[in-house]
Every structure is written in C-alpha cells, then in structure tokens.
C-alpha cells in the first residue's frame, strides 16, 4: 500500500492550490479518500474521538444490501428470456445472458451519473458525494432489462441534475433521485417502460405460442375489467411457458417478468434484513409502509366492486415493485420524513397511496413510484407538524 500512498502524495501538489490541476482537486480528493481514509484529526476543542462510521461506509452498506436483488435480477433476466422462447438453458447460460443485458445498464448509470457528479463537484467546488453510489445502483434495478442504454443515461443525468444538484447535492434533495429517474422515463418514454412487451428480453427470437409478456399487476387489473376471479386468473396466466407463474409463491420468489431488481420479494427482504440489522434504514418506515399497503388492500377487498379489488390483500405485497420501493426508496433518509413520529405517517401513507393508485387508477398499473415521489414532497410538511408539536410543548410549559 506504501506504493499507492507514495504515488498519491507525489501527485498531490498538482491538485493543491497553485498546482496546475487545482481545478480538479475534488476529483483527486475523491480518488484519494476512496483509497485511504484521510489523516485528519479532531479539532482542539470538542469531541476528541469520533465514531468509526462515515457516509462512505453507510452508503456502501446500502449498495451491499442491493446485491441480492441485482444478482437475482441478472439471473431472472436470462431465465425469463429462455422461458419465453421455449429453450432449455443452464443456470450459467441464463446468468451470462442476464449479465450481458444488465451490466451495461449498471455501467451506463454509474458513468452518466458519475460524470454529472464530477462536473458539479469541479464547478461548484465541493467534494464528490457518496450518495451517488446508491443512486447509480438503484436506477438499473428499477428499469426493465430492455431499456435502451441512451435512455438510462438520459434519465440518470436528468435525475441527478434536476432532483439533486440544483438543490445543492446529496443531503439537500427533496425527491428520491432514482425514483425521479424512473418517473422521467415513465413520462418521457412510456413505450419502453410500460405495457406488455418490454419486461422480457426476446432478442431476435420469437416467443412460444401463447406467451404473454404482461406483468402480474396488469393481469390482475385485466381481471377486474373482465370480471374474472383475479387469483385464479393470475394462477392460470402464461401457462404456455410455466405453470402457476403468478401464483403467490412464485411471485414471492420472483421468477416473473418485471424491472430488473424488483421481481423477487424474497431478495428484497434479504436486502431489508441487511438494512435493518445495520440500522441504516428506518424500520418504522418499512413496517408502516407494508402495514399501510396491507390494510388498504384489505379495505379494498371489503369494499370490492370488481374482481381486482377482491384479490387477496397479501397478493399486493408480492406484486410489482412495492417491496423494492418501500425497502430501498421510501427509506432514503434525505427525502423521507426525518422525525421519528413523522416516519410512521410517511410510511403508512406510502403504503396506502400505492394501493389506491394501483387499484383505482387505470393509467398507472403500479403505484409505488408515484406514492414515494408524492410523499417525498409531503415529508417536510409532516415533519413541520411534528416539530411544531414539540415547539408547542415548550411554549405551553413556559406559561405555566
């Protein structure tokens, strides 16, 4: 390591004040602090020792928590392809095909976002923030594997600039950055991120007879329209390629079409376990959001006027991206409610809104994206009232 350290120390003067490349100091700094924790010591007054945590470590924890979803997503992309075209393939074949589709998306998202981050850091003279480590991984996981790479790049750039940098960078943003990227794609290029054709990669092959590329949510929605029992309609769907594909168990395990990282509730829960164990994400938000979704789905079931509403409430929790959205995006500490009691309200409303949008709005088969963005906007309001209650307690005390 001495060699690396010497190399860095040798280059340092170039980037420091007065050096030829002083404008690029923060790029150098990002590289240097990635390799070596800095040797700064604490100020003469105040806390003389510090906790071992820093933002880099916190963010890498979130990235690690997403790895199960990523790996499963890669496999499932290949798995879905071979199912759809009716060819038998080994685990390795499926994984490699998935890799060739997913890896470029991940690389493009990191490269495009990283470029924006670096540009802003250099121009605005602030350190490169680690928040992008998470955003760059989230964006690939919430788009279909068939998304054109240029759209991934465009959406990432849009989201990082408009949702984050214009507000001042990581920590200052109002909206979840990755969700903004997805919303951008959804409204700008709906043909590539909605409908029945985009979720399964077919390549130049033709699918088997009777293949349907529809997602579980759109099948459930159709059941409502056609007045057939949703659960059995789901169970019998796509029997040409797989028995009981949209049965509860299979949807839980995730061998279904959908965005790359969202399909497997099991893998999401694995990630959730990592986030909760390490304390990086709020259990209050997760619990209240899942609870809110389940309660709302149960209410829908009670009030059912069509077959979609009558679908068993627990189905909602394994369909679509709700689990992924709650675990990885609703819990983003910056855009979520920041007070502990606010987090309950915030999570609950995300769950409730997701189901309302799913069930009652024909234009949006999935509701988690809009629910999270909507509640991101309302989070400061929730906090405002929680903090106001605190101020009021203080004020009342003063008059007694």
């Amino acid at each position: 390591m001495k060699f690396l350290r010497d190399l860095l120390d040798k280059q340092k003067p170039l980037f420091q004040k007065g050096g030829k490349l002083e404008n690029l100091y923060y790029l150098y700094e990002a590289g240097e602090t990635f390799l070596f924790s800095p040797k700064h010591t604490t100020a003469p007054r105040g806390a003389q020792v510090k906790d071992a945590i820093d933002l880099k470590r916190m963010m890498i924890t979130v990235v690690i928590a997403m790895v199960p979803c990523l790996l499963f997503g890669i496999y499932n992309t290949g798995h879905m392809h071979y199912l759809a075209v009716g060819e038998a393939a080994s685990f390795g074949d499926k994984f490699i095909l998935g890799l060739t589709l997913v890896l470029p998306i991940v690389i493009v998202a990191y490269a495009a976002g990283g470029l924006v981050e670096a540009t802003f850091a250099v121009v605005r003279k602030h350190p490169i923030n680690e928040g992008f480590l998470v955003t760059g991984m989230l964006i690939p996981l919430v788009v279909p594997a068939t998304t054109p790479l240029w759209q991934v790049a465009l959406a990432t750039i849009f989201a990082v600039v408009i949702a984050k940098e214009v507000f001042g960078g990581t920590g200052m943003n109002i909206l979840n950055v990755a969700m903004t990227a997805r919303a951008f794609l959804y409204f700008a290029y709906p043909a590539q991120i909605s409908g029945d054709q985009v979720w399964t990669y077919l390549g130049d092959k033709t699918p088997v007879d009777g293949f349907s590329g529809a997602t579980a949510l759109s099948v459930a929605y159709q059941s409502g329209q056609e007045g057939v029992d949703a659960a059995s309609n789901l169970a019998s769907h796509n029997s040409a390629i797989m028995d009981n594909m949209f049965g509860f168990a299979n949807m839980f395990f995730g061998f279904i079409p959908g965005s790359i990282g969202e399909t497997s509730t099991l893998m999401v829960l694995l990630g959730a376990a990592i986030l909760l164990f390490t304390g990086v994400a709020s259990w209050k938000i997760m619990l209240s959001a899942f609870g809110g979704a389940y309660i709302m789905a149960a209410i829908m079931q009670l009030l059912a006027v069509n077959e979609f509403m009558a679908m068993p409430a627990h189905y909602h929790l394994v369909m679509g991206g709700i689990a992924f959205g709650i675990v990885f995006m609703a819990t983003d500490p910056v855009s979520a409610a920041q007070t502990e009691s606010g987090k309950w309200v915030y999570g609950l409303l995300i769950g409730v809104l997701t189901i309302i949008i799913r069930v009652t709005n024909p234009a949006y088969p999935e509701g988690i994206m809009l629910a999270v963005l909507f509640m991101n906007v309302f989070a400061p309001l929730i906090d405002h009232y929680v903090v106001k209650a605190n101020k009021k307690r203080r004020l009342q005390r003063a008059t007694v």
Partner: protein, 453 residues
C-alpha cells in the same frame, strides 16, 4: 420527594485507561495557570497583576470588565512568572510559579449560624470577592453567573458519565461537611430549590445524606450525568428564566471558603486514557501544569493530551495547563495517519454507535477501546436521520436546532430549545455523527447569537 429517573437514550463510550482509585506519587507541580479562555463568555478579560508580582492563594489576578464584580483569583501562592498573550495580544495564560508551601489570603469565617443570619447580598459579595464565584455557571448560555441575577433554581449533578470520568464519590470523600456548608450558602441565593442529581446506580454516595436539598436519582447511559439533561427532566428552563449550576467541587470550595476562610483550590484529578502508563488520581490545584503527570509517563510520543474528557475536552500541550473546570486528564493516540480502504475495512478495534457494514463493535458491548483522534471520514451534509435523537435524552430535535443555528434563524432557535442546551449536552451527537459536523461549535455559535441579540 426524590424522583427516580431512568434514561434510555444515550451511549457510553468505553475507553481503556480508567483511573485506579488511589492517589499517585508525582513530582510536585511547579507552575499553575489561569486561562481566561476557560471562561466561555468572558468578553473583556483584564489582568490586575504584573509579571514579577507575588500573590497568595486567593489574591485577585483577573476580572471581566463586563462582569466587574467577579474576581478571578490565584489558585496558589507564588510569583507571577508570565502573562502569555497570543495573536492580536489576546490574553492566553497567567502563569504562577508556586511556593513550596501555600500561603492563603485570610477571609472572613462563617459558622453555620453566621451563614443563616447573613443577608443574601453579603454572601454574594463575599463569594465574588474571594474567587469562588466562577464556580457558578448560569443556564441558559453556560457562562459564569451574573451576581445581579436571582436564579429560579440551583442544580448540582454529583456524578459524571463522560468517558473515563472521575468517580465523584472518590473526589469528594470526607468532604461532606464542606459540601453541606456550601449548600447552606447556595440555598440563600435562590428562592427556588437546590437540586442534587445522584447516580441511580450507586446509592452509597455520601451526598445522599445532605440536608436542605431535593435529591433525584438518574440512571442510564451518558449523558445521564449531565446537569443540563437533569434540569430538562426536573424543571426545564424556559425563555426568560435563569438557573444556576455547579460542579460538586465548586460547592465544596464554597464550603471551605466560608468554614476556613481560605480560597482552597486543591483538587483531585483523574489521569486517564490508553496512553498514560499509570492511570491513577493525583492531588493538585486548579490550573495545574500537566508536565509532571505526562513527562515520561506515556506509552508513546505521538499522544494527544486532553484537558477534560474526550467528548467535551480541549487539546493541550504536553506542558500545558489543566482547564479551570476540569477534573480529568485524558491521553489518547494522535490519529494523524492514512488508512488504506479505512472506510470499508471491517473492524472490531474502532468503537461505533452504528452497525453499518464492517463496524463490529456491537459484538463486544463491554469491551474497552483505545480510540485515537482520527476524524474517520470527511464532513458531509446531513444525511442520516434519527441518530442524534437517539443519543439525546431530551425532548429536543437536535438536527432541527442545529439547522436553525446554521441559518441564524433566531425565532426557530428559541422555539426549538436553544436555552436548554450547552455544548456538552449535544456532544454525543458530534461523536456519532455520520456527516462529521462540528456540533458543539455550532451550538456555541447559536448560544452566542441568542445571547448577544
């Protein structure tokens, strides 16, 4: 009516090098210094001695032109050897070369009946003239109390939960009668009550038998011993109110002054931390040079010597002077080194309140750590939420308060509770902060904004 208050929020920083309960043998300390910078809020310090003057223990040497009545006195008798000034002639230290035998200024003595009979004004005048007054700290602001004020209540916390803090039962052993005399004086200064905060964990304290006070018991992790936290749970400070706080040492000092007629600045200090060879207690006086304790007594040369504890203390030189209010010296390794991939390396050697990837200290909740002064990361914007609240056992939203201070929003600061905190109450936030904010510096900035607005 004593209350038992159990606090859940907080965090104990367990460090290596707790002082053994015995008094060590050291070379006698030669020089002592009074540092005006120890008195936060002292705005216009004025020295009234010159280099070469001789003083007795209790002779006035300094005052604040903004609070002229309050005299700051020499802790020991001897010769003023140096009046050290820094940049722009800022007054830094008044150094005294101590006599081998301490000579005291003789002040009036009071019996218990005298104290009871004396007017409040007389007691205040006596205290301000003899050097014990700076032991009284007022809240809000955490500055030396103004003798013109009358506090709503007086609070004394009789235990310290800071990392490696000295055991006050040991520091105050056999001084209960002086403590009682001090309480008798303080009781006359307020129409309210004098509150003692005792540790709920050890109930053998001599302080439990003190008369004329309201005693409450606090248990839980740090900052349960902080007087600010105790005030918050007993009778919180509201806008426009003033309360006074004292360290038990100050109460004893006041008691000695009234009983013996001397300004007695002798104190026991704890020598602590992973880098000191002999972690024991030492008998000395206020403003002691630490040279005698540190020289040849540390495990390495690259050591940071801290006056006070690692949460709220101040870095001093190896031949520097202990702070006026400190009863503890902490030695930690300097952390001025690079660490390859230090931000992701799994570690059991570094303490963390968090459990993020690779931070394994939670596996050993009883382990004692040898932490160094490395910042362990870089400063960032606030990202993680809920952590400050979980180490602050007060009904306060620290992040909102800090943001209000940064934005210099006076109304918000008041509404969010700036009057209830000083640096030490939010010091744990500075330790656990993912984004490495200088929390205590921000708090002081807020207090000064409010104080002088």
């Amino acid at each position: 009516m004593s209350k038992q208050i159990k606090l859940k929020k907080g965090f104990d920083i367990r460090l290596v090098g707790k002082a053994e309960k015995k008094i060590g043998d050291f070379q006698p300390v030669k020089t002592f210094a009074i540092k005006p910078t120890d008195f936060i809020g002292m705005r216009r310090p004025k020295v009234i001695v010159r280099e070469g003057d001789t003083v007795k223990a209790g002779s006035p040497i300094l005052f604040d032109k903004k609070l002229e009545k309050v005299q700051y006195v020499a802790p020991v008798s001897g010769e003023i050897v140096e009046i050290k000034r820094g940049e722009k002639r800022k007054l830094l230290e008044i150094k005294i070369l101590a006599d081998s035998e301490i000579n005291f200024e003789n002040f009036e003595r009071f019996t218990e009946a005298d104290i009871a009979a004396a007017s409040r004004e007389k007691l205040v005048d006596h205290m301000t003239a003899t050097g014990v007054w700076p032991q009284i700290i007022q809240r809000p602001y955490g500055v030396v109390a103004d003798p013109e004020d009358e506090p709503k209540n007086i609070f004394i916390s009789c235990f310290d939960t800071h990392p490696l803090a000295p055991d006050y039962d040991f520091l105050l052993k056999g001084q209960a009668n002086y403590f009682q005399a001090g309480i008798n004086v303080l009781k006359k200064l307020t129409k309210g009550s004098v509150f003692l905060g005792l540790s709920g964990e050890s109930k053998s304290s001599e302080m439990a038998s003190i008369q004329g006070v309201e005693t409450n018991y606090f248990s839980g992790p740090h900052p349960a011993g902080n007087v600010g936290v105790q005030i918050h749970h007993i009778a919180p400070i509201n806008k426009g109110e003033t309360v006074w706080t004292l360290n038990p040492y100050g109460v004893v000092q006041i008691g000695k002054l009234f009983t013996n007629g001397h300004y007695d600045a002798s104190k026991l200090i704890a020598l602590t931390g992973s880098e000191i060879k002999t972690p024991v207690y030492a008998q000395t006086y206020i403003g002691s040079c630490v040279d005698s304790y540190v020289a040849g007594n540390t495990n390495s040369d690259n050591v940071r010597v801290v006056s006070g504890n690692v949460l709220t203390g101040e870095k001093i030189k190896r031949d520097g002077y202990l702070g006026f209010y400190d009863h503890q010296l902490t030695t930690i390794p300097e952390g001025d080194y690079y660490e390859f991939l230090g931000w992701m390396k799994p570690t059991t050697e570094k303490l963390s309140y968090h459990k993020a990837l690779g931070l394994l200290s939670f596996l050993h909740p009883k382990k004692e750590y040898a932490l160094d002064s490395n910042v362990r990361g870089e400063e960032r914007a606030f990202v993680q939420t809920g952590v400050f609240e979980s180490v602050t056992p007060m009904d306060i939203y620290p992040v909102y308060l800090l943001k209000a201070i940064m934005a210099e929003d006076f109304d918000e600061m008041e509404e969010l509770g700036i009057y209830e905190v000083i640096e030490e109450d939010l010091a744990l936030c500075e330790f656990v902060d993912v984004s490495k904010h200088p929390v205590q510096e921000i708090v002081r900035k807020g207090i000064e904004l409010i104080q002088f607005s």
